[in-house]
Amino acid sequence: MIAATQQQLGNYLESFSGFAQSAVGHQLPWLRKLREDAFARFCEVGFPTTNDEDWRFTNASPIANTPFELARNKRISLTLEQLAPYRLPGAACQLIFVNGRFAADLSLIGKLPAGVKVVSLGKEIGDNPTEVQAHLGRHLNTGRDAFAALNTAFLEDGAYVHIRRGVVLEEPIHCLFVSTGQDAPTVTHPRNLIVAEEASQVAVVEDYVSIDSGLAFSNAATELVAADDAVVSHYLVEREDKQAFNVSTLRIQQGRNANVSSHSVLLGGALVRNNVHPVLAGEGSECLINGLFLGHGRQHLDNYMLVEHASPHCSSRQFYNGILDDRAHGVFHGRIIVHKDAQKTDAKQTNRNLLLSDDAQIDTKPQLEIYADDVKCTHGATIGQIDETALFYLRSRGIDEVSARRILLLAFADECLDRMKHGPARTHVEQLINECLFGESESASAAS
């Protein structure tokens, strides 16, 4: 056991010593310390096992036992044509990352309004380290979470978005992370930082895709800082190929009356874990944590939420819908902590699941920890099959069985879509959901 653990860590130890000497910003003492502390922490905690309460339903050993190489050591060039199908029409700008590295020649930045900065984090560390230092690593919890620690140890590139006070950017910022097939298993650690100053507004889409299959592990982390009265929408789309591992963490820090929506859409990947961790630190802040996961084959899709109410009069809404077919395994673990001072908290959690096959599986676990005495917290979960009565009702009106099933599945998925604001990001996600459910690009919303 210990030997195995040593072996797992040894591989990272070797990578890290080389990385720490050459990584972007390695000469900055604060960044060096951030990385080294995080790496030390990773070595201390090691990869989680199913004995860990937060990982009870997800066995991370396929990740732990694979000797991944850092993808940064290999350069792959892609063409604009190869990327064309993955773009998000109507985006304000598009940042493309290939195997974790920003690809300027493939990205479309265009002209952004004053007060909007969208660059690669690697570049910003070089150009404006003080600005980065103000937020980077200040929020993500590396103490308990090995993957967050590992990401921080190896952080080098990702998206950096900074919206100045009062600035509104309506079109979404598209961040596309492309994994390319490689001979050996490779790992990337995309690290994103989104800073929305007071009363600003922005939408960011993190989109993970594969070009050519191969054993790839994306270990991503995003810190999102929403200052007082800021309105931020974040979309995470996982649509990598069926061999990919993807662990992602979104850590949200909310100021007074800040309003953040997080939308997680898990469609691809073999073993996927998505963590969403908002801290409602400012009074009156609101958070929507919306999710949809569609599992096929032997996919394992784990949704973990930790919602921390730290101030009074905050509200959080968690809505996750899962559709699982074949032998897919879904997890919903929704933890809500209401701290002592967070009176008048209004927290709601709902997880609804459709199992389309006898071998599909869902583990759903609410976990409420309430230390304040004047709060409203509710949670509920349902697990069911396609409603046969509804199916008969549709068929009795002339709609054939295949179409009727399709309408019911779309309606179920649409509950999540309906929580997204109308616009290019929602249209993008809607199309991907259609393709995932029915293997075609026809975008026929059931609700239209």
Binding site: F392, S396, E401, I407, E415, A446
Partner: protein, 259 residues
């Protein structure tokens, strides 16, 4: 040729024989009423006609327009013109009534090799029918199918669907149950507007009340899985006066009557 001919129909539900030999002939242009106490098999008959697959037909046949109805899937029966107004209309979250109805209409049109109706052309048609049923347009345009509808709204929605889909054979399963008198009048108005020489209707009901507004050509009394009496509209009045009890006695002793 009759529109519908049911011959010696036996149906089992969950191992119990519910229908024990039904014979019924319905011609185009006719309105039939099937009356009977709770548990007599009225709804089972209605569901079998709409091809609910969990109902097990153990004997007999149903000929619809010369074709074997029992060989049809629910959607095929619907496309061939069979419509069931459900006793308990189903709520379907996430699908608007308008989308649902247009999908149904287009499925039927496609079955008959006709072009689909687009949303723009469908809207005026739907509006006209919504008006006939005196329904709130917002309910139909924006809200999900039957979701959070009152009982009366659900029943009216069934008749609205019938008015849009224009079936040849409409079976109304206790559409009158739970309606107040105003809603009953509106439903009856909708049904009467649909009466015509090419269309037949079967009204399944527990009470005679509905028949004050929709006068049937034939009335059948169903007791314990058998039709025990058939007659004209006056039979409903006789039932109202005497109750089912006398006929239930008949049902236990008499051989099944021919419709």
């Amino acid at each position: 040729m009759s529109l519908l001919e049911i011959k010696n129909l036996h149906v089992n539900v969950d191992g119990h024989e519910i229908l024990k030999g039904i014979d019924l002939t319905v011609n185009r242009g006719e309105v039939h009423s099937i009356m009977g106490p709770n548990g007599s098999g009225k709804s089972t008959l209605a569901q079998v006609l709409a091809r609910r697959e969990s109902y097990n037909v153990t004997a007999g046949e149903i000929v619809y327009e010369g074709k074997d109805l029992l060989a049809m899937k629910p959607e095929d029966a619907a496309c061939e013109g069979v419509f069931l107004a459900f006793q308990y209309p189903v709520e379907i979250p996430g699908i608007t009534n308008a989308y649902f109805l247009r999908s149904a209409l287009n499925a039927i049109r496609k079955y008959h090799g006709r072009d689909e109706v687009d949303a723009m052309d469908f809207l005026p048609l739907l509006r006209e029918k919504v008006k006939l049923l005196e329904m709130d347009e917002k309910l139909i345009m924006n809200r999900s199918v039957n979701e959070a509808f009152s009982g009366g709204e659900k029943k009216r929605n069934e008749i609205l669907q019938m008015a849009v889909l224009e079936p040849k054979l409409a079976i109304l399963d206790e559409t009158d149950s739970g309606l107040d008198i105003d809603a009953l009048r509106i439903v009856a108005k909708g049904v009467n507007a649909m009466r015509g020489p090419e269309r037949a209707m079967v009204l399944v009901t527990h009470y005679q009340r509905l028949l004050n507004y929709i006068v049937p050509d034939r009335v059948h009394v169903l007791v314990d899985g058998r039709i025990v009496r058939s007659g004209g509209a006056e039979l409903a009045l006789e039932l109202e006066a005497k109750g089912y009890t006398s006929m239930e006695a008949e049902g236990r002793t008499a051989a099944p009557a021919r419709a």
